[in-house]
Symmetry: C2
Subunit: 242 residues, 2 copies
DNA sequence: AAGTGGTCTAGACCACCGT
DNA sequence: CGGTGGTCTAGACCACTTG
Protein backbone atom coordinates (compact mmCIF):
# COMPACT_ATOMS: atom_id res chain seq x y z
CA UNK A 1 0.00 0.00 0.00
CA UNK A 2 2.52 2.55 1.12
CA UNK A 3 5.17 1.32 -1.28
CA UNK A 4 3.64 3.22 -4.17
CA UNK A 5 6.01 5.87 -5.42
CA UNK A 6 3.50 8.71 -5.48
CA UNK A 7 2.39 7.91 -1.94
CA UNK A 8 5.95 7.95 -0.69
CA UNK A 9 6.47 11.32 -2.35
CA UNK A 10 3.27 12.67 -0.80
CA UNK A 11 4.41 11.63 2.65
CA UNK A 12 7.90 12.95 2.11
CA UNK A 13 6.64 16.33 0.93
CA UNK A 14 4.28 16.55 3.89
CA UNK A 15 7.20 15.88 6.22
CA UNK A 16 9.33 18.46 4.49
CA UNK A 17 6.51 21.00 4.80
CA UNK A 18 6.19 20.23 8.48
CA UNK A 19 9.95 20.58 8.89
CA UNK A 20 9.65 24.03 7.31
CA UNK A 21 12.05 23.11 4.59
CA UNK A 22 10.60 25.38 1.91
CA UNK A 23 11.53 29.06 1.74
CA UNK A 24 8.64 31.49 1.23
CA UNK A 25 6.30 28.51 1.41
CA UNK A 26 7.24 27.82 -2.20
CA UNK A 27 7.94 24.30 -3.38
CA UNK A 28 10.50 23.57 -6.09
CA UNK A 29 9.02 23.42 -9.58
CA UNK A 30 7.75 20.10 -10.89
CA UNK A 31 10.67 19.51 -13.21
CA UNK A 32 13.19 19.95 -10.38
CA UNK A 33 11.18 17.67 -8.10
CA UNK A 34 11.03 15.09 -10.84
CA UNK A 35 14.81 15.31 -11.07
CA UNK A 36 15.51 15.18 -7.34
CA UNK A 37 13.11 12.30 -6.64
CA UNK A 38 14.33 10.54 -9.79
CA UNK A 39 10.82 9.96 -11.09
CA UNK A 40 8.88 11.22 -14.07
CA UNK A 41 7.17 14.57 -13.99
CA UNK A 42 3.81 12.78 -14.30
CA UNK A 43 4.37 11.07 -10.98
CA UNK A 44 5.28 14.37 -9.34
CA UNK A 45 2.12 15.89 -10.79
CA UNK A 46 0.07 13.06 -9.39
CA UNK A 47 1.48 13.58 -5.91
CA UNK A 48 1.06 17.35 -6.04
CA UNK A 49 -2.49 17.05 -7.36
CA UNK A 50 -3.48 14.92 -4.42
CA UNK A 51 -1.83 17.31 -1.99
CA UNK A 52 -3.70 20.19 -3.63
CA UNK A 53 -6.96 18.28 -3.38
CA UNK A 54 -6.34 17.77 0.32
CA UNK A 55 -5.70 21.46 0.74
CA UNK A 56 -2.09 20.98 1.77
CA UNK A 57 -0.69 23.01 -1.12
CA UNK A 58 -1.99 25.48 -3.69
CA UNK A 59 -0.88 25.43 -7.30
CA UNK A 60 -0.82 28.51 -9.43
CA UNK A 61 -0.22 28.18 -13.15
CA UNK A 62 2.71 30.30 -14.23
CA UNK A 63 4.00 30.94 -10.73
CA UNK A 64 4.49 27.71 -8.85
CA UNK A 65 3.25 25.52 -6.01
CA UNK A 66 2.86 26.87 -2.47
CA UNK A 67 2.21 25.50 0.98
CA UNK A 68 -1.21 26.32 2.46
CA UNK A 69 -0.28 28.44 5.48
CA UNK A 70 -3.19 27.01 7.44
CA UNK A 71 -1.72 23.54 7.04
CA UNK A 72 1.27 24.67 9.06
CA UNK A 73 -0.60 26.67 11.65
CA UNK A 74 -3.44 24.32 12.28
CA UNK A 75 -2.39 20.96 11.06
CA UNK A 76 -4.76 19.17 13.40
CA UNK A 77 -7.74 20.32 11.36
CA UNK A 78 -6.38 18.44 8.39
CA UNK A 79 -6.33 15.14 10.17
CA UNK A 80 -9.85 14.57 8.94
CA UNK A 81 -8.12 13.41 5.77
CA UNK A 82 -9.56 10.14 4.64
CA UNK A 83 -11.07 9.37 8.01
CA UNK A 84 -14.54 10.79 7.81
CA UNK A 85 -16.24 7.45 7.38
CA UNK A 86 -14.86 6.19 10.66
CA UNK A 87 -17.02 8.79 12.30
CA UNK A 88 -19.95 6.49 12.02
CA UNK A 89 -19.20 2.83 12.51
CA UNK A 90 -15.87 2.77 14.22
CA UNK A 91 -16.40 6.04 15.98
CA UNK A 92 -13.13 7.92 16.08
CA UNK A 93 -12.87 8.28 19.80
CA UNK A 94 -9.24 9.20 20.21
CA UNK A 95 -8.56 6.75 22.98
CA UNK A 96 -11.88 7.09 24.75
CA UNK A 97 -14.05 4.14 25.63
CA UNK A 98 -16.75 3.50 23.02
CA UNK A 99 -19.58 1.12 23.80
CA UNK A 100 -22.82 0.10 22.13
CA UNK A 101 -26.21 -0.66 23.60
CA UNK A 102 -28.54 -2.61 21.35
CA UNK A 103 -32.03 -1.08 21.44
CA UNK A 104 -33.80 -3.00 18.72
CA UNK A 105 -33.00 -5.80 16.29
CA UNK A 106 -35.45 -7.34 13.85
CA UNK A 107 -35.95 -8.47 10.29
CA UNK A 108 -38.67 -6.69 8.35
CA UNK A 109 -39.79 -6.18 4.76
CA UNK A 110 -38.08 -3.14 3.27
CA UNK A 111 -40.30 -0.08 3.17
CA UNK A 112 -40.58 1.91 -0.03
CA UNK A 113 -38.03 4.43 1.18
CA UNK A 114 -35.56 1.72 2.19
CA UNK A 115 -36.05 -0.06 -1.12
CA UNK A 116 -35.22 3.16 -2.87
CA UNK A 117 -32.10 3.84 -0.84
CA UNK A 118 -30.70 0.30 -0.87
CA UNK A 119 -31.73 -0.43 -4.44
CA UNK A 120 -33.90 -3.39 -3.43
CA UNK A 121 -36.84 -5.01 -5.16
CA UNK A 122 -40.20 -5.45 -3.51
CA UNK A 123 -40.49 -8.30 -1.06
CA UNK A 124 -36.85 -8.09 -0.02
CA UNK A 125 -36.05 -8.13 3.68
CA UNK A 126 -33.72 -6.04 5.76
CA UNK A 127 -32.30 -6.06 9.25
CA UNK A 128 -33.54 -3.12 11.25
CA UNK A 129 -30.93 -2.32 13.88
CA UNK A 130 -31.24 0.44 16.43
CA UNK A 131 -28.25 1.13 18.63
CA UNK A 132 -27.20 3.65 21.22
CA UNK A 133 -23.54 4.63 21.15
CA UNK A 134 -21.83 5.79 24.28
CA UNK A 135 -18.44 7.36 24.73
CA UNK A 136 -16.93 7.17 28.18
CA UNK A 137 -20.36 6.09 29.38
CA UNK A 138 -22.10 9.17 27.97
CA UNK A 139 -24.82 8.52 25.37
CA UNK A 140 -23.94 10.30 22.12
CA UNK A 141 -25.73 8.81 19.12
CA UNK A 142 -28.97 7.00 18.40
CA UNK A 143 -28.34 5.08 15.23
CA UNK A 144 -30.98 3.31 13.18
CA UNK A 145 -29.65 1.21 10.32
CA UNK A 146 -31.11 -0.99 7.62
CA UNK A 147 -29.06 -3.75 5.96
CA UNK A 148 -30.33 -6.18 3.30
CA UNK A 149 -30.28 -9.69 4.76
CA UNK A 150 -28.89 -11.06 1.52
CA UNK A 151 -25.72 -9.03 2.05
CA UNK A 152 -25.01 -10.35 5.55
CA UNK A 153 -27.06 -13.51 6.09
CA UNK A 154 -25.11 -14.49 9.18
CA UNK A 155 -25.62 -11.30 11.15
CA UNK A 156 -26.65 -11.78 14.78
CA UNK A 157 -27.59 -9.59 17.74
CA UNK A 158 -24.21 -10.36 19.28
CA UNK A 159 -22.42 -9.18 16.17
CA UNK A 160 -24.20 -5.86 15.94
CA UNK A 161 -23.19 -5.01 19.48
CA UNK A 162 -19.81 -4.36 17.92
CA UNK A 163 -18.65 -2.89 14.63
CA UNK A 164 -20.72 -4.20 11.74
CA UNK A 165 -18.26 -2.86 9.20
CA UNK A 166 -15.38 -4.74 10.81
CA UNK A 167 -17.50 -7.88 10.83
CA UNK A 168 -18.32 -7.85 7.14
CA UNK A 169 -14.71 -7.01 6.36
CA UNK A 170 -13.40 -9.96 8.37
CA UNK A 171 -16.08 -12.52 7.66
CA UNK A 172 -17.57 -11.60 4.31
CA UNK A 173 -14.54 -9.90 2.82
CA UNK A 174 -16.63 -6.94 1.84
CA UNK A 175 -15.46 -3.45 2.63
CA UNK A 176 -17.40 -0.24 3.07
CA UNK A 177 -15.49 2.52 1.35
CA UNK A 178 -17.99 5.13 0.17
CA UNK A 179 -21.01 6.89 1.53
CA UNK A 180 -23.48 9.55 0.56
CA UNK A 181 -24.69 11.46 3.59
CA UNK A 182 -26.95 14.40 4.42
CA UNK A 183 -26.33 16.51 7.48
CA UNK A 184 -29.23 18.32 9.13
CA UNK A 185 -30.49 19.38 12.54
CA UNK A 186 -33.83 19.18 14.35
CA UNK A 187 -35.34 19.85 17.76
CA UNK A 188 -34.95 16.78 19.93
CA UNK A 189 -37.88 14.39 20.30
CA UNK A 190 -38.98 12.94 23.63
CA UNK A 191 -37.03 9.80 22.83
CA UNK A 192 -33.90 11.77 21.95
CA UNK A 193 -34.17 13.64 25.22
CA UNK A 194 -34.47 10.44 27.24
CA UNK A 195 -31.77 8.48 25.50
CA UNK A 196 -29.25 11.28 25.03
CA UNK A 197 -29.92 13.16 28.27
CA UNK A 198 -31.06 16.34 26.55
CA UNK A 199 -33.33 19.06 27.83
CA UNK A 200 -36.28 20.12 25.71
CA UNK A 201 -34.61 23.07 24.05
CA UNK A 202 -31.49 21.12 23.09
CA UNK A 203 -31.38 19.79 19.52
CA UNK A 204 -29.89 16.79 17.76
CA UNK A 205 -27.67 16.75 14.71
CA UNK A 206 -28.72 14.28 12.06
CA UNK A 207 -26.48 12.39 9.66
CA UNK A 208 -28.44 10.26 7.30
CA UNK A 209 -27.47 8.36 4.21
CA UNK A 210 -26.24 5.27 2.45
CA UNK A 211 -23.00 3.31 2.83
CA UNK A 212 -21.59 1.51 -0.18
CA UNK A 213 -19.27 -1.44 -0.64
CA UNK A 214 -16.19 -1.20 -2.83
CA UNK A 215 -18.12 -2.50 -5.82
CA UNK A 216 -20.93 0.04 -5.49
CA UNK A 217 -23.48 -2.16 -3.77
CA UNK A 218 -25.51 -0.09 -1.27
CA UNK A 219 -24.87 -1.86 2.02
CA UNK A 220 -26.62 0.13 4.72
CA UNK A 221 -29.05 2.99 5.03
CA UNK A 222 -28.47 4.69 8.33
CA UNK A 223 -29.84 7.63 10.29
CA UNK A 224 -27.84 8.93 13.21
CA UNK A 225 -29.30 11.33 15.73
CA UNK A 226 -26.32 12.92 17.44
CA UNK A 227 -26.11 14.80 20.73
CA UNK A 228 -25.69 18.38 19.53
CA UNK A 229 -22.45 18.94 21.40
CA UNK A 230 -20.83 16.04 19.58
CA UNK A 231 -21.73 16.77 15.98
CA UNK A 232 -18.76 18.48 14.40
CA UNK A 233 -18.28 17.72 10.76
CA UNK A 234 -15.19 19.23 9.15
CA UNK A 235 -14.96 19.51 5.43
CA UNK A 236 -12.58 20.92 2.90
CA UNK A 237 -14.33 22.21 -0.20
CA UNK A 238 -12.38 22.75 -3.38
CA UNK A 239 -14.21 24.26 -6.33
CA UNK A 240 -11.31 23.49 -8.65
CA UNK A 241 -12.02 19.85 -8.01
CA UNK A 242 -11.73 18.85 -11.67
CA UNK B 1 -13.12 25.64 -20.18
CA UNK B 2 -15.46 23.01 -21.52
CA UNK B 3 -13.33 22.37 -24.57
CA UNK B 4 -10.96 20.16 -22.65
CA UNK B 5 -11.05 16.63 -24.00
CA UNK B 6 -11.42 14.91 -20.66
CA UNK B 7 -14.28 17.21 -19.68
CA UNK B 8 -16.10 16.51 -22.91
CA UNK B 9 -15.70 12.79 -22.30
CA UNK B 10 -16.99 13.16 -18.74
CA UNK B 11 -20.09 14.95 -19.96
CA UNK B 12 -20.63 12.50 -22.76
CA UNK B 13 -20.37 9.50 -20.46
CA UNK B 14 -22.77 11.11 -18.00
CA UNK B 15 -25.25 11.60 -20.81
CA UNK B 16 -24.84 8.04 -21.99
CA UNK B 17 -25.41 6.81 -18.43
CA UNK B 18 -28.53 8.91 -18.18
CA UNK B 19 -29.72 7.55 -21.53
CA UNK B 20 -29.28 4.07 -20.11
CA UNK B 21 -26.89 3.14 -22.84
CA UNK B 22 -24.82 0.64 -20.86
CA UNK B 23 -25.99 -2.95 -20.42
CA UNK B 24 -25.76 -4.34 -16.88
CA UNK B 25 -24.56 -0.92 -15.78
CA UNK B 26 -21.16 -1.91 -17.10
CA UNK B 27 -19.07 0.55 -19.09
CA UNK B 28 -16.78 -0.58 -21.91
CA UNK B 29 -13.22 -1.24 -20.80
CA UNK B 30 -10.72 1.60 -20.89
CA UNK B 31 -8.90 0.38 -23.98
CA UNK B 32 -12.14 0.22 -25.99
CA UNK B 33 -13.20 3.67 -24.78
CA UNK B 34 -9.81 5.02 -25.75
CA UNK B 35 -10.36 3.54 -29.21
CA UNK B 36 -13.92 4.77 -29.65
CA UNK B 37 -13.22 8.30 -28.39
CA UNK B 38 -9.97 8.35 -30.37
CA UNK B 39 -7.94 9.51 -27.38
CA UNK B 40 -5.19 7.95 -25.31
CA UNK B 41 -5.99 5.57 -22.51
CA UNK B 42 -4.55 8.09 -20.04
CA UNK B 43 -7.21 10.60 -20.96
CA UNK B 44 -9.93 7.99 -20.53
CA UNK B 45 -8.48 7.10 -17.14
CA UNK B 46 -8.52 10.75 -16.16
CA UNK B 47 -12.19 11.09 -17.07
CA UNK B 48 -13.17 7.86 -15.33
CA UNK B 49 -11.19 8.75 -12.21
CA UNK B 50 -13.08 12.00 -11.87
CA UNK B 51 -16.40 10.25 -12.40
CA UNK B 52 -15.42 7.72 -9.74
CA UNK B 53 -14.47 10.50 -7.37
CA UNK B 54 -17.86 12.08 -7.90
CA UNK B 55 -19.53 8.78 -7.14
CA UNK B 56 -21.00 8.45 -10.62
CA UNK B 57 -19.19 5.19 -11.38
CA UNK B 58 -17.32 2.50 -9.45
CA UNK B 59 -14.14 0.92 -10.71
CA UNK B 60 -13.14 -2.57 -9.79
CA UNK B 61 -9.68 -3.78 -10.72
CA UNK B 62 -9.89 -6.94 -12.77
CA UNK B 63 -13.58 -6.67 -13.53
CA UNK B 64 -14.43 -3.32 -15.01
CA UNK B 65 -16.14 0.01 -14.46
CA UNK B 66 -19.79 0.21 -13.39
CA UNK B 67 -22.46 2.85 -13.05
CA UNK B 68 -23.47 3.72 -9.49
CA UNK B 69 -27.11 2.67 -9.39
CA UNK B 70 -27.95 5.56 -7.07
CA UNK B 71 -26.77 7.98 -9.73
CA UNK B 72 -29.55 6.78 -11.98
CA UNK B 73 -32.25 6.50 -9.35
CA UNK B 74 -31.62 9.71 -7.54
CA UNK B 75 -29.60 11.90 -9.80
CA UNK B 76 -30.79 15.05 -8.11
CA UNK B 77 -28.72 14.27 -5.05
CA UNK B 78 -25.59 14.44 -7.16
CA UNK B 79 -26.23 17.96 -8.25
CA UNK B 80 -24.24 19.11 -5.27
CA UNK B 81 -21.24 18.45 -7.49
CA UNK B 82 -18.91 21.37 -7.38
CA UNK B 83 -21.53 23.70 -6.07
CA UNK B 84 -21.17 23.47 -2.34
CA UNK B 85 -19.43 26.79 -2.00
CA UNK B 86 -22.34 28.61 -3.56
CA UNK B 87 -24.32 27.60 -0.53
CA UNK B 88 -22.81 30.47 1.32
CA UNK B 89 -22.25 33.60 -0.68
CA UNK B 90 -24.39 33.17 -3.74
CA UNK B 91 -26.95 31.07 -2.01
CA UNK B 92 -28.19 28.41 -4.38
CA UNK B 93 -31.81 29.31 -4.37
CA UNK B 94 -33.09 27.51 -7.40
CA UNK B 95 -34.97 30.45 -8.80
CA UNK B 96 -36.20 31.85 -5.53
CA UNK B 97 -35.74 35.44 -4.50
CA UNK B 98 -32.67 35.94 -2.32
CA UNK B 99 -32.17 39.19 -0.48
CA UNK B 100 -29.77 40.54 2.12
CA UNK B 101 -30.34 42.82 5.06
CA UNK B 102 -27.25 44.47 6.47
CA UNK B 103 -27.25 44.29 10.27
CA UNK B 104 -23.80 45.57 11.12
CA UNK B 105 -20.80 46.93 9.29
CA UNK B 106 -17.62 48.18 10.91
CA UNK B 107 -13.85 48.06 10.83
CA UNK B 108 -12.16 46.68 13.93
CA UNK B 109 -8.78 45.32 15.00
CA UNK B 110 -8.62 41.58 14.42
CA UNK B 111 -9.13 39.54 17.57
CA UNK B 112 -6.72 36.75 18.41
CA UNK B 113 -9.07 34.15 16.96
CA UNK B 114 -9.57 36.11 13.76
CA UNK B 115 -5.82 36.67 13.42
CA UNK B 116 -5.33 32.94 13.70
CA UNK B 117 -7.96 32.07 11.14
CA UNK B 118 -7.06 34.72 8.59
CA UNK B 119 -3.34 34.41 9.09
CA UNK B 120 -2.97 38.05 10.11
CA UNK B 121 -0.35 39.82 12.20
CA UNK B 122 -1.19 41.87 15.26
CA UNK B 123 -2.56 45.32 14.62
CA UNK B 124 -4.19 44.35 11.36
CA UNK B 125 -7.75 45.46 10.76
CA UNK B 126 -10.75 43.61 9.42
CA UNK B 127 -14.25 44.41 8.25
CA UNK B 128 -16.85 42.93 10.52
CA UNK B 129 -19.98 42.33 8.50
CA UNK B 130 -23.21 40.93 9.86
CA UNK B 131 -25.95 40.14 7.42
CA UNK B 132 -29.34 38.52 7.43
CA UNK B 133 -30.16 36.46 4.38
CA UNK B 134 -33.74 36.00 3.31
CA UNK B 135 -35.21 33.69 0.71
CA UNK B 136 -38.61 34.60 -0.63
CA UNK B 137 -38.84 37.05 2.23
CA UNK B 138 -38.23 34.41 4.91
CA UNK B 139 -35.15 34.95 7.11
CA UNK B 140 -32.83 31.94 6.79
CA UNK B 141 -29.26 32.76 7.80
CA UNK B 142 -27.49 35.14 10.16
CA UNK B 143 -24.01 35.49 8.77
CA UNK B 144 -21.10 37.17 10.52
CA UNK B 145 -17.98 37.56 8.41
CA UNK B 146 -14.51 39.01 8.87
CA UNK B 147 -12.43 40.17 5.90
CA UNK B 148 -8.97 41.78 6.10
CA UNK B 149 -9.23 45.36 4.87
CA UNK B 150 -6.00 44.97 2.95
CA UNK B 151 -7.68 42.37 0.72
CA UNK B 152 -10.63 44.54 -0.24
CA UNK B 153 -9.78 48.17 0.56
CA UNK B 154 -12.68 49.52 -1.49
CA UNK B 155 -15.45 47.58 0.23
CA UNK B 156 -18.50 49.61 1.17
CA UNK B 157 -21.81 49.04 2.95
CA UNK B 158 -23.56 49.17 -0.40
CA UNK B 159 -21.33 46.46 -1.79
CA UNK B 160 -21.87 44.02 1.03
CA UNK B 161 -25.61 44.22 0.54
CA UNK B 162 -24.91 42.00 -2.45
CA UNK B 163 -22.49 39.18 -3.15
CA UNK B 164 -19.04 39.97 -1.81
CA UNK B 165 -17.49 37.10 -3.74
CA UNK B 166 -18.87 38.40 -7.02
CA UNK B 167 -17.57 41.85 -6.16
CA UNK B 168 -13.98 40.77 -5.53
CA UNK B 169 -14.11 38.59 -8.63
CA UNK B 170 -15.27 41.48 -10.83
CA UNK B 171 -13.37 44.34 -9.27
CA UNK B 172 -10.27 42.85 -7.68
CA UNK B 173 -9.92 39.84 -9.98
CA UNK B 174 -9.63 37.57 -7.00
CA UNK B 175 -11.65 34.40 -6.81
CA UNK B 176 -12.74 32.34 -3.84
CA UNK B 177 -12.31 28.69 -4.73
CA UNK B 178 -11.66 26.78 -1.52
CA UNK B 179 -12.99 26.68 2.00
CA UNK B 180 -12.50 24.80 5.20
CA UNK B 181 -15.74 24.57 7.15
CA UNK B 182 -17.08 23.02 10.34
CA UNK B 183 -20.73 22.05 10.62
CA UNK B 184 -22.38 21.98 14.04
CA UNK B 185 -25.69 22.65 15.73
CA UNK B 186 -26.78 24.55 18.84
CA UNK B 187 -29.94 25.64 20.63
CA UNK B 188 -31.05 29.00 19.28
CA UNK B 189 -30.16 32.16 21.17
CA UNK B 190 -32.62 34.96 21.82
CA UNK B 191 -31.21 36.82 18.87
CA UNK B 192 -31.53 33.76 16.60
CA UNK B 193 -35.14 33.38 17.64
CA UNK B 194 -35.94 37.00 16.87
CA UNK B 195 -34.13 37.24 13.58
CA UNK B 196 -35.00 33.82 12.21
CA UNK B 197 -38.52 33.52 13.63
CA UNK B 198 -37.72 30.48 15.75
CA UNK B 199 -39.42 29.27 18.89
CA UNK B 200 -37.28 28.54 21.94
CA UNK B 201 -36.95 24.81 21.35
CA UNK B 202 -35.94 25.18 17.72
CA UNK B 203 -32.19 25.07 16.99
CA UNK B 204 -29.84 26.59 14.46
CA UNK B 205 -27.34 24.83 12.26
CA UNK B 206 -23.91 26.40 12.25
CA UNK B 207 -21.42 26.50 9.40
CA UNK B 208 -18.21 28.16 10.38
CA UNK B 209 -14.87 28.41 8.66
CA UNK B 210 -12.46 30.11 6.32
CA UNK B 211 -12.73 30.93 2.63
CA UNK B 212 -9.58 31.00 0.52
CA UNK B 213 -8.60 32.69 -2.70
CA UNK B 214 -7.11 30.74 -5.59
CA UNK B 215 -3.62 31.44 -4.37
CA UNK B 216 -4.25 30.21 -0.84
CA UNK B 217 -4.76 33.57 0.85
CA UNK B 218 -7.41 33.28 3.56
CA UNK B 219 -10.03 35.80 2.49
CA UNK B 220 -12.90 35.55 4.96
CA UNK B 221 -13.68 33.93 8.25
CA UNK B 222 -17.39 33.42 8.46
CA UNK B 223 -19.95 31.99 10.85
CA UNK B 224 -23.42 31.24 9.58
CA UNK B 225 -26.30 30.49 11.89
CA UNK B 226 -28.89 28.76 9.73
CA UNK B 227 -32.60 28.19 10.35
CA UNK B 228 -32.68 24.48 11.17
CA UNK B 229 -35.12 23.60 8.43
CA UNK B 230 -32.76 25.00 5.82
CA UNK B 231 -29.47 23.38 6.78
CA UNK B 232 -29.03 20.36 4.54
CA UNK B 233 -25.46 19.57 3.68
CA UNK B 234 -24.94 16.70 1.24
CA UNK B 235 -21.59 15.05 0.97
CA UNK B 236 -20.09 12.13 -0.87
CA UNK B 237 -17.30 10.46 1.07
CA UNK B 238 -14.85 8.21 -0.70
CA UNK B 239 -12.25 6.44 1.40
CA UNK B 240 -10.35 5.34 -1.70
CA UNK B 241 -9.73 9.00 -2.36
CA UNK B 242 -6.02 8.53 -3.13
C1' DA C 1 -4.96 -17.59 -19.65
C1' DA C 2 -7.42 -13.60 -20.95
C1' DG C 3 -9.34 -9.41 -19.59
C1' DT C 4 -9.36 -5.31 -16.82
C1' DG C 5 -7.84 -1.41 -14.06
C1' DG C 6 -3.35 0.67 -11.68
C1' DT C 7 1.22 2.64 -11.84
C1' DC C 8 4.84 4.85 -14.07
C1' DT C 9 7.57 6.69 -17.87
C1' DA C 10 9.35 10.23 -21.37
C1' DG C 11 8.19 13.69 -23.88
C1' DA C 12 5.41 17.17 -26.88
C1' DC C 13 2.88 21.16 -26.80
C1' DC C 14 -0.11 24.75 -24.63
C1' DA C 15 -1.55 28.65 -21.28
C1' DC C 16 -0.49 31.74 -17.87
C1' DC C 17 2.73 34.65 -14.95
C1' DG C 18 6.34 37.60 -14.04
C1' DT C 19 10.54 40.33 -15.33
C1' DC D 1 10.94 36.15 -22.92
C1' DG D 2 11.90 32.30 -19.52
C1' DG D 3 9.70 29.74 -15.99
C1' DT D 4 5.80 27.43 -14.38
C1' DG D 5 1.78 24.31 -14.21
C1' DG D 6 -1.92 21.93 -17.49
C1' DT D 7 -3.20 18.68 -21.05
C1' DC D 8 -2.48 14.82 -23.81
C1' DT D 9 -0.01 10.99 -25.94
C1' DA D 10 1.80 6.07 -26.55
C1' DG D 11 3.25 2.49 -24.43
C1' DA D 12 5.51 -0.80 -20.83
C1' DC D 13 4.67 -3.50 -17.03
C1' DC D 14 2.07 -4.94 -12.83
C1' DA D 15 -2.04 -6.69 -9.87
C1' DC D 16 -6.36 -8.43 -9.52
C1' DT D 17 -10.64 -11.06 -11.17
C1' DT D 18 -12.90 -14.36 -13.71
C1' DG D 19 -13.60 -18.41 -16.41
Amino acid sequence: MADLIYRKIINDIKNRIFDNEFQNNKLPDERSLSESYQVSRSTIKRALNILAQQGVVFKKRGSGTFVNPLYLKNQSLFQYEGNNLGVTDNISTAGQESTIKLLDYQVTPASAEIQQNLFLNENEFVYQIKRLRLIDGKPIIIETGYIPIKLAPELSPDTVRESIFNYIDDKEHKRVSKSFMSIMTEPSTKEDQELLNLSTNEPVGIMSGTFFLDDGTPFEFSTMRVHYQYLNYNTFINLNAD
